[in-house]
Symmetry: C2
Subunit: 259 residues, 2 copies
């Protein structure tokens, strides 16, 4: 199993605290030692740090942790491979452009017979079921709205529907971002927390690290964090219902779809 990490906020926020927890689980406290990736949006484009090496030992992961980059939307992943060898081409998250913005995708689980999913404009570069499913999903969106992106509600409904259809073929927990919103589908295992005022302390489950958010936030800040498992031990995480999809927008849970 892989682990997912997403963050979506209303003010630029660095993901170092959560990434520190996730990173330790990449070959450290857990067995997710087949590479990691982290995409950080700046407007419509995402910059993505990718490393086929275990996150716990990766110099690039150490750099990312030591040099916080603030963002409104981030998607991270650490991999325990189930399909496809360890290589850069098979390292999540995956990125494709649609409607003049980067779409970023990371998956936890296995989609059986993913190769039978029809492709169109987007062709997988690697050999994972995940990237194939992502290409199929994006092509589904493109084909459904050939004139461009529809309104937010229509779009998230379409993502949920496509996600649910693909999800029938296996375990399809995913995080998908478009630079504006974070779509987070729970097939089996996903949780989230929304941090907002009054901000307090949070203690990482996998590392002896505690952070006090109060001095670095304002009363208007809202930060949604989504993860495969709760990353902290002293906060209450919302556990996802199987076959639902959350949509986060400016640090709020904007919608919950059956999916």
């Amino acid at each position: 199993m892989c682990e997912l990490l997403g963050m979506e906020c209303n003010v630029p926020t660095d993901i170092v605290f959560s990434f520190t927890g996730l990173r330790r689980r990449g070959g450290g406290t857990a067995h997710h030692a087949d590479g990691w990736g982290l995409a950080l949006y700046e407007g419509k484009r995402a910059r993505t740090f990718l490393d086929p090496e275990p996150a716990a030992k990766s110099p690039l992961a150490a750099f990312v942790a030591a040099n916080p980059i603030k963002t409104l939307l981030a998607i991270g992943h650490i991999r325990k491979k189930t399909r496809g060898p360890t290589s850069l081409a098979n390292t999540h998250p995956f990125t494709r452009e649609l409607w003049g913005r980067d779409w970023v995708f990371a998956h936890n689980g296995t989609v059986r017979g993913a190769r039978s999913l029809a492709l169109g404009r987007y062709v997988p570069i690697g050999t994972t079921d995940s990237e194939h499913a992502f290409c199929h999903l994006l092509e589904g969106l493109r084909a459904s709205f050939p004139k461009g992106a529809p309104d937010a509600a229509t779009l998230s409904e379409a993502v949920a529907e496509l996600g649910g259809t693909i999800g029938k073929k296996g375990t399809f927990n995913f995080l998908l971002g478009d630079g504006q919103r974070l779509y987070a589908r729970c097939a089996t295992k996903l949780c989230h927390i929304i941090r907002r005022a009054p901000f307090g302390q949070a203690r990482l489950a996998d590392e002896d690290v505690t952070i006090d958010f109060a001095p670095v936030t304002t009363t208007r800040d809202r930060v949604a964090v989504v993860s495969t498992v709760p990353l902290t031990t002293n906060e209450t995480w919302q556990i996802g219902e199987p076959n639902t999809m959350w949509v986060f927008d400016r640090g709020r849970l904007a919608q919950t779809h059956a999916s």
Copy 2:
């Protein structure tokens, strides 16, 4: 003006020496202080380091220089903006997937009226003439070969032809990679060198750095380096003829096209 750096080899090679020279020119010895980027292929996928900050002062550039990643094909760029503000979305190189592989593009010069170039499946994320021209060029390739990539000679001829047509609208020096070959078009200013046995010393023009390649190479190694200006002072660089395009393949100059 921006500056381009490309490397294409027959054995995995790190680009740190050349990148060190280029980096100093990014806000150091020259005035190219509007961001930088470096794409390093591993097979069909490229990982790209992007920073809208000056390369000479960028912690990420320092990380890349200190942690060499070997590659067969790299494309780098430092930017002095002419069109479009400084932002991640406007930072070269740009990447899009075609035929199941990443294509990476960096441009030096200005394409006048780039927005009049027809688009198809690839839509610019930022506001540069460069990314618009890249999207137009890739769509031209896709439309010319709807069934997939043609043979190498046909493909490079098509790239040269599309490059030449766009080049009529302004100054279109570019580097384009597909993970197999490096296409390097000279409109006004581009040079290259092919390092091979017997390897000797090279001395950077912009930094007091000399490297001896002999201990770190074998007699079969071939490394082609392409740059806007010669990066070393004690080697003979081949100066490009305006309106030609070089194609490098496994460290050899495979073809030279009128373009």
